[in-house]
Symmetry: none
Subunit: 685 residues, 2 copies
């Protein structure tokens, strides 16, 4: 970029814009609405605001980013960034200044206002039957009369006491065996995987045994840290999928793999690093918080970490080795990339995955640092575009055990649909795009503090009232500067669309009503496109008007149209006219106003009280597989017994899709519509 | 033969019988119990089942065989049989049909379940049944109607064609799958381990599949590089165990582990590095030799490697990935150290090993660089001091299949003994020390050029004549400076002892005869100990007199005494007076003069022609396990069904041992003794 401006793009949020040269990266982040942690208020003492400068020519964004595009390295950065970090391109955002175009990656730990991931969601009933079980045994010592080896001695008792036959043992567990037996004076606790293989031997008696259920989303990776003995969720940990820097959606990642020779390896390494971070995070939570304290030893003042336990609180104080099982699911592309399976055919018709079956893979073979003998159970895939995440939803929701005809909608970066009951199950995928996640929307953002989640527009004045996440009071009950609005979150976008339409700002076709007189309606000064101001700059923390553009509205229309058309086609295939229950999974489902979703025609008509949100059902499915081995078999069964429909090859799809893009979808009766919208608007052309 | 039947005779097996006309030659072979290779499951695509029709009137069999007695030549046979082969009468057995009496020759390469004799060491019969087998398949491409994933698509065909059910696949093989299927245009060759797990997928058709059998000795590591398809030993490679630097014998290694915190890791790393070297060496042998040559590129003279193939020789040009299986055995301590299992309890009463069972371990988990999905099969251990090496000897020699009461002596760094037959098997270990391997002997050395292997001492003059390895002529027929003597090898030491005694240089007790007048007898100038010069400095390449010391003689006496006492005790336990056969395994067995061994009382009396050397039987056992998976089961069975006797706790051992140290052992009748030694020496006190 020429002159005194530079183009700056922040990943993984994708926020971009031109900023004046010479400002600090923190200042740039603020201008572009990116939250970077600055505990010390830019006093350069907390070291929280570390960001990474990505080197290279980024054709996708039309920029070249380089370390030489930031101001020189400063001595004070050395306190927080070691030479290796420096080598990797880390800088303090409060110190480094913009001197040219930049692609900046904000690591998870530097992100303020971290995403709100629904906590261990729901209480779903899971029978306790984990793959890893503990067995306590007491052995006889070897003698000259019976000098049998350690392993066989152990197996004899495990067979006599627990009926475990033909057990194998992992090499790493075998290495622990002689020491554990002698340290425990021939009394040990053995972890057995699937009644088949010994994966851990500890001296004495213990009932500590933990596992991690991981839902690998295209955007968010969520981990449920579970006690395999008590079945309790000890902690919920999450981070943004570090692959986001290669592209927001599945196809972008596949494209990155096909364009960069080591793309697959890099994306796999990133998600593995992310999972290892989740593991560390889960473990860290079992120890007291620590702070750095100065301590005098003789003459010297030494800095060291000091634990600061909360009073009355007990800590499990676990280590990585205490995590003995992982169950993991994701869509087919995430699944393939994580396992380093070539994902390109998943993106090419007829979209065959490399494998459907579930897999048991040694964590060490994936580079996941938990107990070295442990397995990672990877949920099976249904098809190229309906992956292990959907299988997770299925085993959590179990539509195949119900008479009720259910529609399950999982809205993530892609929309995945399941329709059926115990007699028949159909699944399909529709390219909703990530609009419902707030991506590809001008001021879209994740469901984080400052995101608009509810909105009302006065049909007369077109005045806007709204509510942001993290603040109870609506704008009309607040001082403007208290709002600190940042953008619009995915579920809020549907609210915006419904209100824009209800208030007559947009027409049924989705186009802005050209006759309106609102001062909020204007044309963008740069590209001359129409837009509508939701929040004025003085209500925001980013110093800019938050607007919704014509393009944004199109994105949402496309998304809802695809979803609706997909549902209709599946109903047609199933030969039904009516759905008995709609379940909306995913973070979107948790936040969305079900009534508005119904009115906006996200899915075919259904009684409102039969529309329920089921939270992160994919994650619940992973948890079910972690805690009950029978659910793993069920997963393999259902993955092969749900019939996948490829919507793109259905002739009726395009027609249905075109119709469904309109707002609201009028081919269906909308019993609640009259109550909500004034008749004149409803019948407006 | 008349009517609808024909007489078919298969050569070289000679199987014959009448079969219905119209069936294929393959079907006929099956009816008559002849195994013909059919990689493709008679899909007419592998070309493996070529047989030759013998033309002529075979009076011996009462038939006339003719090319006209088979169905006409088919176009599809041309792909595999060239015109010359056609002329010679070759046909595809899956294509050609019986139309009259036939004499059919099955060439070696078309025989399934081959019985091939190894070129390494000895001819032992091994039925072909490797753990890793190849299967060639042709798949349908995925379509919108059948978009099934790659793995499931492959499994379907493997099940239909080869009856392989519930196959798993290694992650690393799974990563190859999508590429291999598309590169091979949906025709691939799959390597399947134990009918359970796919470990390799290659595009197109291939029958290249190799394995390595490794005998991990305390001193020497030997590898047999085998073609798993033809059963042939492609190459034999070996190296000294790199752990020798930590100590010559098992106890020294265990001590090193206990004294150095990282001792186990270091010794394990060393042997793994050694095995990787063996792998490299085996692979290198399949490529032409290379030399460095200078090459001019523009101005520059560049050095590069240039291949220099021998004329007329074809090279397999294999890579590490082409080694798809390893079978490995060693004594219990070597086994434990390699696997990083704490070996200290193997050295402490009651000597329990960490594990008896055989193990299947992924090569990558051990750091062995072969095909990344491949397994290493580790033979089972009998006891702390009788390890997987002895199990190797057992499955090679199969005493448990014989009525004959056999004594098998495996003399390595330790002496391992097996006594028994099909009704009962005993094993034990005796601390012979490494004297028979030339270690702990002043001028002892390995069986290498320059080592004295045979000796004669004149009883009158005490003049010495001898022969060294690598030189045909004895010293008395050579110029002294031609001898280039370096030392005495392990098996030569027994010769030395026998001759020293026969010539009256030493007494029955092993002490030097103090009355002798030989100028070769002297006291060491440094330690004043008596010694006898075998070779004067001017006959050697080391510029020193090669002597045998009183201490050397004691070492040999201890070794032979331990061995003899062990044998006697086992006979006592077995309740027998006489052994029907003695088998001497190991390099010692190959080099030793059996008669002298018998005279010197290495083992209880037996007919001389019933004493045989069985070479590296431990290595043969590894090879058997590599080439026949049933031998692996046999190994586990025998390891738990041979009764181990701990000699050190037997009261009678010490007494037997003391007596057995004398030379020769006089409690046994020595029928051959009179012929060999002069009566006056025999009756000398």
């Amino acid at each position: 970029m020429e002159g005194d401006k530079a183009m700056v793009i922040f990943q993984p949020s994708g926020r971009r814009g031109s900023v004046p040269k010479g400002i600090s990266l923190i200042e740039a982040s603020r201008l572009l609405g990116v939250d970077i942690e600055t505990l010390c208020g830019e006093k350069r003492v907390c070291g929280k605001c570390q960001v990474r400068i990505e080197e290279g020519h980024f054709e996708k964004y039309g920029i070249r980013s380089s370390m030489s595009h930031v101001s020189p390295w400063q001595k004070e950065e050395e306190k927080f960034i070691n030479p290796e970090g420096k080598e990797r391109g880390l800088r303090l955002a409060c110190v480094a200044k913009v001197e040219g175009d930049l692609l900046i990656f904000v690591p998870e730990e530097s992100r303020a206002g971290k995403q709100v991931v629904s906590k261990a969601a729901r209480d779903i009933h899971i029978d306790r039957n984990p793959a890893v079980k503990l067995h306590y045994v007491e052995l006889e010592k070897p003698t000259f009369e019976h000098p049998t080896g350690d392993f066989e001695r152990l197996c004899e008792v495990l067979e006599t006491q627990y009926g475990l036959r033909n057990l194998g043992i992992d090499l790493f567990a075998l290495r622990q065996l002689p020491r554990a037996l002698r340290d425990g004076e021939w009394k040990v606790t053995v972890s057995v995987w699937q009644d088949e293989e010994i994966i851990r031997v500890r001296p004495g008696k213990t009932d500590s045994c933990y596992g991690l259920a991981i839902d690998v989303g295209t955007t968010t990776v969520a981990g449920y840290f579970c006690d395999l003995q008590s079945m309790k969720v000890v902690d919920t940990v999450s981070l943004m999928n570090p692959q986001c820097k290669y592209g927001e959606d599945v196809m972008a990642r596949i494209t990155f793999h096909m364009s960069a020779p080591d793309g697959l390896q890099r994306m796999s390494d990133d998600i593995i690093a992310g999972i290892n971070w989740l593991v560390e995070e889960a473990i860290r939570g079992t120890h007291p918080p620590r702070t750095k304290a100065k301590k005098r030893i003789g003459e010297e003042l030494i800095e060291e970490w000091v634990e600061e336990p909360e009073e009355g609180k007990t800590y499990l104080r676990l280590t990585r080795e205490d995590i003995e099982d992982i169950a993991l699911g994701g869509n087919t592309a995430m699944h393939h990339i994580l396992l380093q399976l070539d994902p390109q055919y998943v993106g090419l018709a007829p979209f065959p995955p490399v494998i459907h079956h579930s897999l048991d893979i040694k964590a060490r073979d994936l580079g996941i640092r938990i107990n070295p003998s442990s397995y990672v159970f990877v949920l099976p895939n249904e098809a190229g575009f309906v992956g292990a995440d959907n299988v997770g939803v299925l085993i959590a929701e179990e539509p195949y055990k119900s008479e009720e005809m259910q529609l399950i909608i999982d809205i993530g970066t892609n929309g995945e649909l399941v329709l059926g009951n115990k007699h028949k199950l159909l699944s399909s995928s529709c390219a909703t795009g990530p609009a419902f996640e707030g991506a590809q929307i001008a001021f879209g953002m994740r469901a984080a503090p400052g995101a608009i989640e509810r909105i009302k527009i006065d049909p007369e004045t077109h005045e806007v009232d709204y509510k942001v996440i993290g603040r109870e009071a609506w704008k009309s009950y607040s001082k403007l500067q208290e709002m600190q609005t940042k953008g619009i979150c995915g579920s809020g976008i549907l609210d915006v669309l419904a209100e824009l339409y209800r208030s007559g700002v947009i027409l049924k076709s989705g186009r802005f009503n050209p006759t309106q007189k609102s001062n909020r309606y204007r044309r963008n000064s740069e590209n001359n496109q129409p837009e509508f101001v939701i929040a004025w700059a003085n209500e925001t923390s980013i110093g800019k008007d938050v607007v919704i553009t014509q393009k944004d509205i199109r994105q949402i229309q496309l998304a809802k149209g695809a979803l609706y058309a997909g549902c209709k086609l599946m109903m047609h295939r199933m030969g039904i006219e009516k759905i008995e229950k709609v379940k909306i999974a995913g973070a979107f489902g948790t936040h969305v106003d079900r009534q508005k979703a119904l009115i906006m025609g996200l899915f075919p008509d259904c009684e409102l009280d039969r529309v329920v949100s089921v939270g992160n059902a994919a994650g619940d499915g992973c948890r079910a597989a972690l805690l009950n081995r029978e659910k793993r078999k069920e997963a393999d069964w259902v993955a092969r017994n749900v019939e996948y429909i490829e919507l793109t090859v259905e002739k009726a799809f395009q027609k249905e899709f075109m119709g469904a893009m309109q707002i609201p979808h009028m081919t269906d009766p909308f019993p609640h519509l009259e109550e909500l919208v004034s008749p004149d608007i409803l019948h407006q052309k």
